[in-house]
Symmetry: C2
Subunit: 713 residues, 2 copies
């Protein structure tokens, strides 16, 4: 009996004390997660793709072959057999300048530099493009078709990017600190470059190429002039050499005062010939090392950065000076419109428009003005920036933030596909109905051929790249939308889940539902109904609506919510800051009246009484409390949904997300309780029946300090 | 023919353009790299170990089971079958308090708290210990036996640690910066703790347990007082809970001024009752959360850190005050002897001795004075610290540096087993011949039962933990020597290579030879013949022998090498600083005379003429040039040896080390050329025939700047 007991104990002890072993998918493979399909699926695709012929050779073709090998070995259990002629191959990859491809009847021009066709033709599948990089994109599309279990039997598609420059901006410093980075250190190990080349650089390039990203800026827009010194340019060259076969160009953030700082010139005034010459010489030096260098990204006269304004010159003068240095080599300038003057009297949301719209038409044709999606700063929800549509004679690039500076760092699940789509689909009405932001960005509404979309990266040394597995989806959706803004956020989520997590239909539905609601949850528990900029100072971690003592008025949350005994919200109508005047008349009219202002932006444009009657018939105070609680409930729902998919998800990935959701729920409640406790001091109204009261008083929330929160600027 | 050509091109193109795919061993598994043995070996071990019985259950037993499963599944291709009685098992794990183990005749006392026996007995293999942690150590030993292909048929060993506290010290800040860390950010993600628990924490614990490390200090000795605030203690508790089943206690570096900084007291004078009370209360608060908390590590009155000296109190008064707060709970104080007073007139190498020796016998019995191996600061070679042997009535802990602050960061291959052994085997002669440093550290030469060895960790978020694969060997050898300082550096290297890299005999010989010579190579190309502290300022990257303008004289390299027209080296004899007076008479006599001073320490103790005749018969200048060139040649030899083992090493690991060796060779030449160019300005002698001249003049080397070199303090 005793022995029996010991045995029983032995059996159960393992269960009782099991130590975590999360081995399995650690997330490193991202959506290029080539886990085996089932035998039937493998057989099916092998019958369609078993042999391959690639009629080209180059460094990029080599990448294609490696990726095909990796993908088919992983997904289908074996690599395709290379055959020696197109005729004998099931799968053919060919440039479209080839007599081979004539029978397919694909118009060469239709594919452009980077587009491609995938066509089923007489029992063969053809990937055709005008460039080897086009073929690489086609290859990744084909792999995606397999990963998402698509039917290839009648495939006939042409895909051409709608935007020319599809870029990641890394806000990474030379010491590997990443401003607003929540996934560990920068992946760019400047100290060990150029000689030590991490495998991660290659896998980063693969991931970007797979979603069509074709440009990267490895260094912070708050730039360090040293990046342009010879020692660092050798390091940049090493990266450019690695990335080139993947169709990715390297750009650099440059400090406008570099001629003075590292060139020894007296100053960096852009009209001075010696300053212009310095930049010309620097460009020549760079292109000597990196013949396909992309160009410069510039943050100038913004938040303390130097710029042409230091010498009484305009942004156009500054940008064009750099553009002319790059022009002979084919480089471009991305000039950021995120500026707010140091002692401007205008309300902050007005300032970029005020500075840039008068310069419309004055930028050289290799300059794009890079505009954040909203007029403030990457808040969970903003209206579209009024610059979109207001500069028809300029190239306007879209700048999205992928890293979740204001959306919960890397522990909150917030799928940004819906945010990006909301911004891109917004109708500016500047050239009549249908003048969407997307059409401004893709060039249809301007006379500039230069088009660009940039995403501020959420990538770091964390093994899964983005800290949160679902952060990967934001990198993915950014690239997919930069390629084609007509895709839907839901379809892209579907792709990503299939490729990354599971093929189980029910699980996909649950997870897609989580993703599609997640951003609205964040809006609700952080900044509902058009509130914005309520975060704590500096690190931007957690709520700080009470902060009112910073060096500039417009750094204070109180500047934006204007809570008082009467009510809440900032009046941006004619009776207030009149920011609505920067929008097209259609919007001016709508936004002038709370009743015709979209509810989700109400407090962005209006200061409303606590008793203001909302469309629901309830008071503003009630709806405020209700929305904060909806946000928390949304996270609780995500937790339940995630538990439901447990058996369909790799245990390691499941556990990571489970822990993060636990943190997200805690922090959602913290946001809700801290904000409501604070706003209640103005509203002087009780928390309505049925909703929980804040756990602590506002002084408690004010007392919390997080000096070492990550990603600080 | 054309078609044939295309085929040929296809075949070769892959070779020509192959993109790197270093997939394979990425180094994450460290020496717990359970790759399959060959079939014969698997069969052999399975026949000896096929069934297992574990007569105990606890969280630690669960760790044991998991590790056994993992190891046998990996190494032997299948896990062992658990059986329900000891009689029917091939492998039996049992506590020694058990009637089961009586027939084995192992004396319970002989194993102590952590020791174990592994004994072949009547066809069974028994692992026996007095504690479940002892069984865990036995398990890792058994796994090591298999990994190193040892014969188990007659195994009969008892292993007991020679030192009680075997600790890793992490110099990691709360923002995840690691002082003197070259493997990326800190593995301790304080922001996401306590709720987000990385798999890495568990694997870190496994690795440490496998080499007997039983204590860790997760935060920098340049301590932040916030670590003792309630929010951080919750995070520390989460780590302690994870590490407990692995036999690992958590300690904390504490700031001596904490009572003032976070306790609101007027100051932190250790004789004040309210200060003592504050520490008592804080200790109680910690032990409430962490019942087995290890204690405090303190850097006081050193390099700007606060300490008892701020109030005119001694180190003993400061240490004992903390010790008395911890005593009721069983905690210890590790009090660092790395001090040099801010305006001391004594030469720096004298200062620790001057401050601490007078305090011998005044420390409480739960205080250990933690002494760096040499009298300066972790240089590539130093004589042993004169404190060893000079404080027989105190516990002296050894502090080694595992991270290569002064030995090439994480790109230089420098196996430190030889350095540690040199220090441990050094004979202090303080109690006659044979009074080795090891015997001081293990307590044989003192009347204190508290013994400790600490290693400053080289661990970071790099996928392979240490940046350089061979950096893992330094973590490994530290742990093994802390357990048993009688092991040889070569045998430990042999174990590590077998466990980590390869079983191929020839490859092992080559790699072991590389490792065993590597530290002497570094000494030669950086600081030969007893030179020291020649590195550049602040970041300590690369040579800076010319630096002579820092805030304190003893921060300057010129303070240590004293190069002048006459010669080189610092006179530490009676005619100079008389540092030799701190050693035992045996050494005083030897070191007083260059002829009887060990050649490798010549310039540590003597200022010698450039023409001084060395034992070789050549001049000092010749030997200096010769040694610098031997260092470079040593790296070239390592490159050749590494190429020879290419086919026996995982391609990923091979490539990583290959790149690092390339950097090491570049930097070895840089050190040689910069130092010789500089010393030549004094010696005014040509580079002897047959040796290369420095590539640049000394001004070039002086001009190099590395503001973002990693790991800065």
């Amino acid at each position: 009996m005793k022995k029996y007991l010991i045995t029983l104990c032995l059996l159960f002890s393992h269960l009782a004390f099991a130590t975590p072993d999360f081995s399995g998918e650690d997330g490193y493979n991202l959506w290029l997660n080539y886990r085996p399909l089932n035998a039937r699926q493998q057989q099916h695709y092998l019958s369609q793709l078993g042999t391959v012929y690639i009629a080209d050779k180059s460094a990029t073709t080599s990448v294609i072959k490696d990726e095909l090998k990796r993908a088919t070995k992983g997904l289908l259990g074996q690599k395709l057999s290379a055959v020696s002629s197109a005729q004998s191959a099931k799968l053919v990859l060919a440039l479209n300048n080839n007599q081979l491809t004539t029978p397919l009847g694909i118009e060469q021009k239709s594919l452009g530099d980077e587009g491609y066709a995938i066509k089923q033709h007489k029992g063969q599948i053809w990937l055709v493009a005008n460039s080897d990089v086009g073929l690489l994109y086609a290859t990744f599309d084909l792999i995606r078709q397999i990963q998402t279990l698509a039917d290839l039997s009648k495939i006939n598609k042409v895909s051409v990017p709608k935007v020319k420059l599809r870029m990641l901006n890394h806000w990474d410093d030379l010491d590997r600190h990443t401003e607003r980075g929540y996934a560990g250190q920068s992946i760019f190990d400047w100290h060990k470059l150029p000689d030590y080349q991490e495998q991660r650089y290659y896998d980063y390039a693969r991931a970007n190429a797979s979603i069509g990203v074709n440009g990267i800026v490895p260094n912070n827009v708050n730039a360090n002039a040293l990046i342009l010194t010879p020692a660092y340019l050798q390091k940049v060259k090493a990266l450019a050499d690695i990335f080139r076969p993947y169709g990715i160009k390297v750009y650099l953030s440059v400090k406008f005062s570099s001629p003075h700082l590292i060139g020894g010139l007296e100053n960096s005034d852009p009209v001075k010939p010696e300053v212009q010459q310095w930049w010309h010489d620097k460009a020549a030096e760079i292109y000597q090392l990196i013949p396909d260098f992309g160009g410069f990204l510039v943050k100038a006269n913004s938040e303390g950065q130097p710029g042409p304004g230091d010498f009484g010159r305009t942004h156009a003068q500054g940008a064009n000076m750099l553009a002319r240095a790059l022009k002979p080599f084919g480089g471009n300038v991305l000039w950021r419109a995120f500026v707010y003057a140091h002692d401007a009297k205008a309300e902050r949301s007005l300032q970029a428009y005020n500075e840039f719209v008068p310069l419309d038409g004055k930028f050289d044709d290799n300059v794009s003005v890079q505009v954040k999606n909203g007029p403030i700063d990457f808040q969970p929800r903003e209206p579209f920036s009024p610059l979109f549509g207001a500069m028809p004679h300029s190239s306007l690039a879209m700048e999205f933030q992928i890293t979740q500076e204001y959306l919960g760092f890397s522990t909150h699940l917030a799928y940004l596909g819906t945010l990006y789509k909301e911004a891109l689909d917004a109708d500016t009405h500047t050239q009549g109905a249908g003048s969407t932001v997307a059409k401004v960005v893709d060039g249809s509404l301007s006379d500039s051929p230069l088009t660009a979309m940039a995403g501020v990266a959420n990538i770091g040394m964390d093994r899964n790249w983005t800290g949160h597995i679902f952060g990967q989806a934001n990198w993915y959706v950014f690239g997919r939308l930069a390629w084609d803004h007509d895709l839907s956020a839901a379809d892209i989520a579907d792709e990503w889940i299939n490729m990354t997590l599971t093929h189980d239909k029910n699980a996909i539905d649950q997870i897609k539902d989580m993703m599609m609601n997640s951003r609205e949850d964040v809006v609700n528990y952080m900044t509902p109904l058009g509130l914005h900029h309520l975060m704590d100072t500096g690190h931007h971690y957690g709520p700080g609506p009470w902060v009112d003592n910073l060096g500039r008025a417009d750094w204070n949350p109180t500047y934006y919510h204007r809570a008082d005994k009467q009510g809440l919200g900032i009046d941006r109508t004619a009776s207030g800051t009149n920011a609505i005047s920067q929008y097209a008349p259609y919007w001016q009219q709508k936004l002038a009246n709370p009743a015709t202002t979209p509810t989700e932006l109400l407090l962005w444009f209006h200061h409303l009484s606590w008793d203001y009657t909302m469309p629901s018939g309830k008071s503003l105070w009630y709806e405020l409390v209700h929305h904060y609680n909806m946000g928390v409930a949304g996270v609780e729902k995500m937790q339940q949904q995630w538990q439901r998919v447990k058996n369909q998800i790799d245990p390691n990935q499941f556990h990571q997300v489970e822990m993060a959701l636990g943190i997200q729920l805690k922090e959602a409640k913290w946001w809700r309780d801290a904000c409501l406790a604070y706003f209640q001091t103005f509203s002087q109204r009780p928390i309505p029946e049925g909703f929980p009261k804040p756990v602590h008083d506002v002084d408690y929330y004010k007392s919390l300090q997080f000096p070492y929160a990550p990603g600080q600027g």
